[in-house]
Symmetry: D2
Subunit: 302 residues, 4 copies
């Protein structure tokens, strides 16, 4: 029981047509639905209605992050647990949100609105359920099969990571500690992967990036080829993280939200021992090849 | 709560010195312990004491397959559940088995001895827990980071897959149905991967192969290079499975147990819809590139 | 001066529409011209008018193999040299053949018609000559950038390889010797690659396969994916050759001509020392991973 | 006849022990000979005695670049041709230089000393000439099979590239033109590869980098892993060049000479049409993914 994984990230952008063009043709997600002021997108291998939504707003930002619950009954369990922890919880009724059923929402100590949802509508996929090929024909752009994780900013990383561990049952796979022993980054998982959500020190409520999974290092290169061909500015990569060991490339959507394409990493069981990075190894922890930040990664966010 | 994943497979071999040489130098596992009549091995990225044991026996075969439980208390839960299902369950006390604590054992409808264990001893790994590189220096052979799954034989696949679903809470990711609608292969998961264990129609109690994870297609090629250099007979591959979409190579250890190196595949949530293969697509289901069995894959086992 | 590389292979097929569909949509060559009874094809990165032609004929077979000369004047040099060697040489005038200028033709000791040509017409490519991307958009199928080499059959391999070395200035990169020291396969190059043409013992005049270049191991996998998706029978692979070290996959076009997709291998300077394979290592020489022929590779040809 | 390819680059360094450690253990070349004040190194797949030499000198720099001639008699041909072009040519007698026979030396218009040599001594390689595996066991570090090309600086790129074309018979595969139509970079080949030597505008006599070949994109990643593990500063990459299409990573040896690991690119026949990059596409020409220089690539050299 409990949280299975990241469900979807809800971001905002001032130009939905541009967002639709970029997210379907360059990043290569499927547009499962377009409401008046909102796009619903998913990777080609995801059965759910959306892993990313983009709402029209003059400001580029983030509305909320949603995690998926294993059981319908988990809604009530977490409602009580959150209220015991002093969080105000609101119920979103079935039919209130496009493409999903009932959910609960609350504010994490990092200032982000978090949603927990069990029922996200199923949408027929690109592959048949009988004798399918390994991937569909006619994919466009980078075409990640699914979303992977999200990185958020928090003034007090230690506080919010403790909250995710204690109240939401996440495991801490990796952390960066300052020289003073203060937690300045935390990587948290429920799905058995290196991270479903992570926090890095910064302005509370901020979004650092939304990350999408690809299957291997060669696919990271093809992502870079697609980005360059389309004139999309690469933030950094292809490179490797020290944290998670994953291979990666970062880039910005045309409105300014940072995206990542990610592959690799280990499997994290519940008894996975936390890996610690010390601040003097910060550069290598983030970008194993470069050994340092590019002067933008730790300062630019939405 | 419940089963997390495959813990270890216990096989037998008539020559432990040869097995030790092969499994450490060619396959490239770590030998964590050698008891009088038994080898304990694990991949370089596994914290647990063993993912494979090899016991001396004049006959090549399999003793049991063990799955790992999330909680100590799961032992009792499954003990009761199994007894309710009519299975005789035996308790193995703490200290009775090398490298692990208390466990329960029972016979599955396929005739295999199955073990459930929570406490497998931790052995310090090859990577430090502070500022680690992405992989250790000095790896030998194929060097898979971990084991992945096991494929077993069963006369009545439908019966044993139903048992794994109903009693042990496994999810059925894929199945092959005969023309008459009879289940002739079943792929079952607890870990969110395409399979932790699978059954294919055959002589009950038999072992088809033990599979080890590698990170990508290039690593499958390097595995093939290592095998060829060492004169190890390749069964089939590098190729791709239709089932799981994974890339793979099969080969035999010098005593005759089939090994696999596997990568790729999807993530399987609890609500993952079962994929069905029809018997007329059997060849493509098993070997997507060849489109047919090699005349050995479905007949040779231990 | 002299031969630069393979120019084109002229094969026959009983169904040009099927050949056109397969060679453009599955193999992914460009159809640069279609004459009444002949297709002219090339890879997307080749400036020349054709690297493969398919002529209508009820019988599947090979008309000739053409090599490209560096200079127009080489035509006369080789004409004289060939006649001195006792070969009858015919001149094909400018305008007699579609897509190319003057050439000479003769019969090699293996019974194959060989053509030498300098002027193959240039056809505008898919990439611009100013600020090009690394590859064009909209490629279909396997889409090899170019052809690589051709493997022919000869009753007396030693005789024809000696001819290619002495009269045509090829270098012998590798050879297989029978137990009796007889050359049963010879690999010959002019372009600095492991082979532009090779001979293996068999029925003189026969064609074993036409090979196309791809850039890496991942592209070999994608070739296999394309073939499987299109139901094209794979002969063998993905695998590696001992000879050339290259990675490879073999398959048959729908009319029965064997194709190969090939990558890797070394650079062969003129002073490259010949590598010798002994007959007891024949299996490994041909298929390094399997260590033996598949029972079809050495017997089926066109 | 003529130049076959790059033979070797002779650089200087103030610490030969450090250079030996780095070039054998991190870059992974073979040290074929160590003279009093000089190291002779080569890639594991090169038959010649050296592709790189490092001479002790308090200053980090370059002594010369040597190209390999197909025939002994080419020495005299080029001697005459160079003298006709107004170049002073000196003969280095057999036995005067370690590991090679007679050669000629002259100064190119870019101020670099260039050597032409036919006879470089053969040193037994790591692979047998009978039934070899595809690569040797026990390679250390990045272990490129061979060197690839060298990039030099020249105040007047157009002048030196014209000299290499007219006097040394190089082909111009690619060039960058300034807005005023002035050639600011030129890529020149003899070996059928995208470049054996290139010039970029800068201080005449300078060395930008020495480049080594690896076989594919995965090997570029492994190079990055090796560099990061050994704390070697990466200049840029893994990335792709617009020019040559090749994948690449740049880094500095501990004395300050820039190295590159390179793979990919096309085959360049003598009639390969020159590709032109305009100055407004300079960033993409150099680093296709980043789309711009990193502020160090065009300014730091030795």
């Amino acid at each position: 029981m409990g949280i299975l994984r990241l469900s979807h990230t809800d971001i905002t952008a001032p130009d939905l047509d541009l967002a639709a063009a970029y997210y379907t043709e360059v990043l290569g997600l499927d547009l499962t639905e377009r409401a008046d002021d909102r796009l619903f997108l998913r990777g080609w291998d995801e059965p759910d209605h959306h892993c990313l939504t983009v709402r029209f707003d003059p400001r580029v930002g983030i509305d909320r992050v949603a995690f998926k619950l294993e059981h319908e009954s988990d809604l009530e369990v977490f409602e009580q647990r959150l209220e015991s922890a002093g969080c105000a919880v609101s119920r979103i009724g079935d039919g209130e949100e496009v493409g999903q059923g009932e959910s609960i929402r609350f504010e994490a100590p990092s200032g982000h609105e978090i949603e927990l949802v069990h029922d996200v509508h199923k949408v027929p996929g690109r592959l048949p359920l009988v004798n399918p090929p390994p991937y569909p024909e006619g994919l466009r752009g980078i075409a990640p099969p699914r979303s992977d994780h999200v990185l958020l900013l928090a003034e007090e990383v230690g506080e919010v990571s403790r909250f995710f561990m204690d109240v939401l049952d996440f495991g801490l796979t990796e952390q960066i500690l300052s020289g003073a022993g203060h937690q300045i980054a935390a990587f948290l998982q429920r799905s058995g992967r290196p991270h479903d959500v992570a926090f890095v020190q910064g302005v509370s409520g901020g979004l650092h990036h939304v990350s999408f999974w690809v299957d291997d290092w060669d696919h990271v290169r093809r992502a870079a080829d697609v980005l360059a061909f389309n004139g999309i500015p690469v933030d950094i990569g292809p490179t490797r993280h020290g944290i998670t060991r994953g291979n990666t490339i970062y880039f910005f959507d045309p409105m300014g939200t940072r995206n990542e394409v990610f592959t690799g990493g280990y499997r994290a069981d519940p008894d996975f021992p936390t890996i610690t990075w010390t601040e003097d190894n910060l550069g290598r922890a983030i970008f194993y090849y470069e050994g340092k930040d590019n002067g933008r990664f730790l300062t630019v966010h939405t």
